[in-house]
């Protein structure tokens, strides 16, 4: 080790607190990069492998009932490689340990190997041919309900109870993320998938020789849209409900949304940390070099070259970067693994491990070192190339600007201490600006993440407290005559019952069309209602349809325009209906009608799809028993349970995410303020000591520094708010799809919390530095020349 290296180590030790705070910012950036890129890569690669290995289909379609003889024609479509026809049915199930009925999705297993969407068997075996009541169950459901091979399950298949024996537990690429159809979140333990021999399901549902779902594997580069159109054409006569690609396959879409979010995180967060780190490096090094100016002159006089001096300081920076990178690796790997474990709970993959791709770590290290060295360049360049004679002389005295002085335009009597602070800030405009930007970024990160809590609370409140206020929803298996309402109303514990109808329709205007859910409520419904922009209940018009604004924009229609509606399970007939109202909606594209108006439009006898009920909690058990006894009434979902689970899931995810972001923003704010204050103290220590001699108290002298910090922090807030709003907007638009929009709810408290957190971090570092001011040795300082 040469002398310069010894100096380097001593310097690092002496400045350990600054080194540590810069290292932390770097570590946070490296960690964000590793977590973001690593998790993205894990999910993306695992999904791609899984899809490839288990033959995940490219195009999907449901149909009412189509003959298997149609399959060759589908296979003939240009670009189709494999056709897989299945029977899929939703059925109520009675699960031990669950009071209310659960629901299971029955999926047929062919006698031979599965062509597409192949199962990944976790344990047990597939049902044996000829064993009509054997089934393989999805893992999440099995885990939640404690099902193992050999367990039995009561499933109501087409009205009759069947005791099904579990032979195995499996995963499938088309149900990585498994939700009850129509729900917005997975209901662990209340919904599962059962794969059963095709013969059993076909016989039970009278679908022998027929299918109601088809999946296609396409040749690489095949024209997906053309194939979808062709498939639609072939299925139309049999009640085709519209084919779609992976981009509308529920499980795939949810994973995509997650991936988009992760990509956004790795694109936004790490650069913020790296910019702040580069700035801190620059600030600290500039001061260090200013203090060592004479030493540099001396070293040069001794014969050290400019490059070796420059390298000395670059090494200093690289050492800090290495410390940060190592800490960032550690935290990143830990958090990445934790996040992956969390993901593995929601997404069923055969194996999901956090990426160990060395490229990520190399990139993270390279980018970080690059940013740090970039931060150092200016400071080093200024010093290393000074001629020794110049370097050994003290620098030219600083020139200050006379702002806020006696002749300020407002004739304000400003205390001299504020003048000192503001002139000092202005004397280093770039550093001050850097500090302001750093703190603004910390505030922005907080606003950009905290707003989502408010938005989700808002959506929960909007959905569960304002619009869908029913205790439970009983959904029939298919539609039933309107009189079914009275059957439900008579059930024990039902205090009020309101019918609804929902059907999948293709809504179109000219060339634009979309497949959406159309919901109809009875006039005067109170439990479930629509609200206008000012939260006033909307009275459903006697004729016409109310559509969401996003749908209206897509179709380019306004009030009074007419649109075409084609029920997906009908005979392909279309109906013309006028747009009678527009409304905001978070679940994307939606349309609503009055129940009678719908029946009139379709020219059918009154029919309903289910009933919303208000439940007397004391009689809940009797209600569930009655529902299990009359499986024809279908399935019940409970709001309270849904809400609780939603909150649980959200709280868990949000807690982790917000905790991490709070810590990260805190690290930035603390790092910026601490370094800022330390350097300011180093520059102004002499002035502070003089002030102490003049009779200023410790508190008053500290104010010199604290007021600088306060000015920078306050200045940063409005900028941070603006950046934060921008960040939130960016997130909203990256989340939003046709399926789902998130409202940009920015309540005042988000700004207050964010600013409070940044101020707390700033205040904390201010106090840490204040302790140094208190220990300032007046006499020692005054004895020496600057």
């Amino acid at each position: 080790m040469n002398a310069l290296h010894i100096k380097l180590i001593r310097e690092l030790r002496r400045l350990w607190a600054q080194v540590a705070s810069i290292g932390l910012v770097i570590a946070a950036g490296v960690a964000a990069l590793i977590i973001g890129m690593g998790t993205y890569q894990s999910l993306e690669k695992t999904r791609a492998d899984y899809y490839a290995r288990n033959n995940f289909a490219d195009v999907f379609a449901s149909v009412a009932r189509a003959p298997r003889s149609l399959l060759p024609a589908i296979g003939e479509l240009d670009g189709v490689l494999v056709v897989d026809a299945r029977i899929v049915r939703l059925a109520p199930a009675d699960v031990e340990g669950l009071a209310e009925p659960a629901s299971v999705l029955l999926i047929s297993l062919p006698a031979g190997p599965q062509p597409l969407n192949q199962l990944h068997l976790r344990s047990g075996r597939l049902p044996e041919a000829g064993q009509t009541t054997e089934a393989v169950v999805s893992e999440v459901f099995a885990t939640a309900r404690g099902l193992v091979p050999g367990s039995r399950l009561d499933v109501v298949m087409n009205g009759t109870h069947r005791s099904v024996t579990i032979t195995g537990i499996a995963l499938a690429p088309d149900y990585i993320y498994a939700m009850t159809p129509g729900d917005i979140m997975p209901s662990e333990g209340r919904f599962g998938v059962l794969w059963m021999p095709e013969a059993t399901i076909a016989a039970t549902y009278d679908l022998t020789g027929a299918f109601n779902t088809v999946s296609l594997k396409l040749a690489p580069g095949a024209a997906t849209n053309t194939i979808i159109a062709g498939l639609d054409r072939l299925l139309a006569p049999y009640g085709g409900q519209g084919a779609y690609g992976r981009s509308q396959q529920t499980s795939h879409v949810f994973l995509d949304a997650e991936l988009t979010q992760l990509r956004g995180m790795s694109a936004v967060l790490p650069p913020i940390f790296l910019v702040v780190a580069a700035f801190l490096v620059n600030m600290t090094l500039t001061r260090l070099i200013a203090l060592e100016r004479e030493q540099i002159g001396l070293l040069k006089a001794l014969g050290y070259g400019s490059w070796s001096i420059a390298w000395h300081y670059v090494e200093f920076v690289l050492l800090i970067a290495v410390l940060g990178i190592v800490a960032g690796y550690g935290f990143g790997i830990w958090a990445g693994n934790a996040l992956t474990v969390l993901y593995a709970r929601y997404y069923s993959f055969p194996v999901l491990t956090f990426s160990r791709d060395p490229a990520i770590y190399v990139i993270a290290a390279a980018v970080t070192m690059g940013a740090s060295v970039l931060g150092a360049v200016r400071a080093v360049r200024q010093a290393a190339w000074l001629p020794p004679a110049v370097a050994m002389m003290p620098p030219a005295p600083p020139v200050y600007r006379r702002i806020l002085g006696a002749r300020n335009p407002f004739h304000l009597e400003v205390p001299q201490r504020w003048i000192i602070a503001s002139r000092h800030l202005l004397h280093w405009p770039w550093r001050t600006a850097g500090g302001v930007v750093g703190l603004a970024l910390a505030t922005a990160i907080l606003i950009g993440s905290l707003w989502s809590v408010g938005a989700i609370n808002y959506m929960v409140d909007y959905t569960f407290n304002r619009t869908e206020r029913q205790d439970g929803t009983i959904t029939f298996l298919g539609s039933r005559p309107a009189a079914a309402l009275y059957e439900v109303a008579r059930l024990p514990g039902v205090l009020a019952a309101e019918p609804f109808a929902s059907l999948g329709v293709e809504i179109s205007k000219g060339p634009v069309s979309r497949r959406i859910g159309l919901t109809a409520y009875a006039g005067g419904s109170d439990q479930t209602r629509l609200l206008d922009d000012r939260f006033r209940p909307v009275v459903l018009p006697e004729e016409g349809v109310i559509i969401s604004r996003s749908l209206a924009r897509l179709l380019r229609v306004g009030l009074g325009d007419s649109v075409e509606i084609r029920p997906l399970d009908g005979g392909g007939q279309t109906y013309s209906v006028s747009v009678a109202g527009l409304m905001e909606g978070y679940l994307g594209l939606a349309a609503y009608m009055d129940l009678e108006a719908l029946d009139t439009l379709l020219g059918r006898s009154p029919q309903i799809s289910g009933v919303n009920v208000e439940i007397d909690e004391r009689q809940q058990a009797e209600l569930f028993a009655a529902l299990k006894a009359t499986p024809a009434l279908g399935m019940i979902s409970l709001r309270s349970v849904a809400l609780e689970r939603f909150r649980e899931t959200m709280a868990q995810n949000m807690f982790v995410m917000i905790g991490v972001l709070l810590a990260m923003a805190g690290v930035i704010a603390f790092g910026v303020v601490y370094n800022f204050a330390r350097i300011s103290l180093s520059e102004q220590g002499r002035e502070m000591a003089s002030l102490r001699v003049l009779g200023f108290s410790r508190g008053e002298v500290s104010m010199l520094l604290l007021s600088e910090i306060a000015m920078v922090t306050l200045l940063a807030q409005p900028i941070g708010w603006l950046l934060g709003i921008g960040l939130a907007r960016g997130m909203v638009s990256s989340f939003s799809s046709e399926l789902f929009t998130m409202p940009l709810v920015l309540e005042l408290d988000v700004f207050v919390y964010s600013t409070a957190v940044v101020m707390a971090a700033a205040g904390l570092s201010g106090l840490v530095v204040r302790r140094r001011i208190d220990r300032l040795d007046m006499i020692a300082v005054l004895k020496t020349r600057e």
């Binding site: 020139v399 006379r402 205390p415 002139r423 000591a689 003049l694 009779g695 108290s697 006499i779």
Partner: protein, 256 residues
């Protein structure tokens, strides 16, 4: 003269050139001792010093480097606390005063001038003085203080735009603007040439004459002794002698 013996206030009054003392000296010390500890090593910087000065006195403190002059001045200025012994300002005991009380004492009663001027570089001359007048009970106007040291035409200059002598005079203006009872100067001319130094000394004498400010000036410039009422000689942490000048010279009459 006496060696390290207490100088009674009454005896001061009898010595012609010293201004008449009131009943109490303005500052006095008794067995004032300061020991610096640096690890194992102890340095006896001040060894049981007894001293008193009455209002309006102008004393010069001489002595070799390391003889304890600065330590002494810092102690009676309330910048530091003694290891043992006592220091009084009027009837305030300084030796055991709290940090806050010492801060108040410096703020209300003491002005300091150091060899290195210790001006705030980001404030103009006027603002440097204002810094003090803002927190004093009965300050003069900053302009008045600067006028006294002959800097009326330099008030809006920053320290970096002033010469060494001018900077030192700003420091004096800043020290006297609060109308201190006690003005303590540690080698105020140490960094200045003879001609500039004389201007600075004139400013000090003027303040002493006009406001009756008790002034203690440390110097190792023997020539300066001629302008004082009394000359206090330090050696090895003790006062070895105190001489009284029967006649004083004006600052303009000396040079070095």
């Amino acid at each position: 003269m006496m060696h390290g013996e207490p100088i009674a206030a009454a005896s001061l009054g009898e010595e012609g050139a010293v201004p008449a003392a009131t009943s109490l000296p303005l500052v006095c010390t008794s067995k004032l001792t300061k020991i610096y500890r640096m690890g194992e090593v102890e340095v006896l910087a001040l060894d049981a010093v007894d001293f008193a000065a009455s209002a309006g006195e102008f004393d010069v403190i001489l002595g070799p480097s390391g003889s304890g002059k600065s330590t002494f001045l810092n102690l009676i200025g309330g910048l530091d606390t003694p290891t043992s012994g006592e220091a009084w300002f009027q009837d305030h005991q300084l030796a055991k005063a709290s940090e806050a009380a010492l801060t108040r004492y410096r703020r209300d009663h003491v002005g300091f001038v150091f060899q290195f001027y210790n001006l705030v570089p980001s404030l103009t001359a006027r603002e440097n003085v204002k810094l003090v007048t803002e927190i004093s009970r009965r300050p003069m106007r900053p302009e008045e203080a600067l006028e006294l040291v002959g800097l009326s035409d330099r008030m809006d200059h920053f320290p970096a735009q002033l010469s060494g002598g001018e900077q030192q005079r700003v420091a004096i203006a800043r020290a006297i603007a609060k109308r201190p009872d006690l003005l303590l100067c540690d080698e105020p001319t140490g960094a200045l040439d003879s001609k500039t130094g004389v201007v600075v000394l004139e400013a000090l004498l003027r303040v002493n004459a006009e406001f009756d400010t008790t002034t203690l000036v440390i110097t190792h410039n023997v020539a300066i002794r001629e302008i004082a009422h009394r000359v206090v000689n330090f050696a090895n942490g003790r006062i070895v002698s105190v001489e009284t000048n029967q006649t004083r010279l004006p600052a303009s009459a000396i040079s070095w």
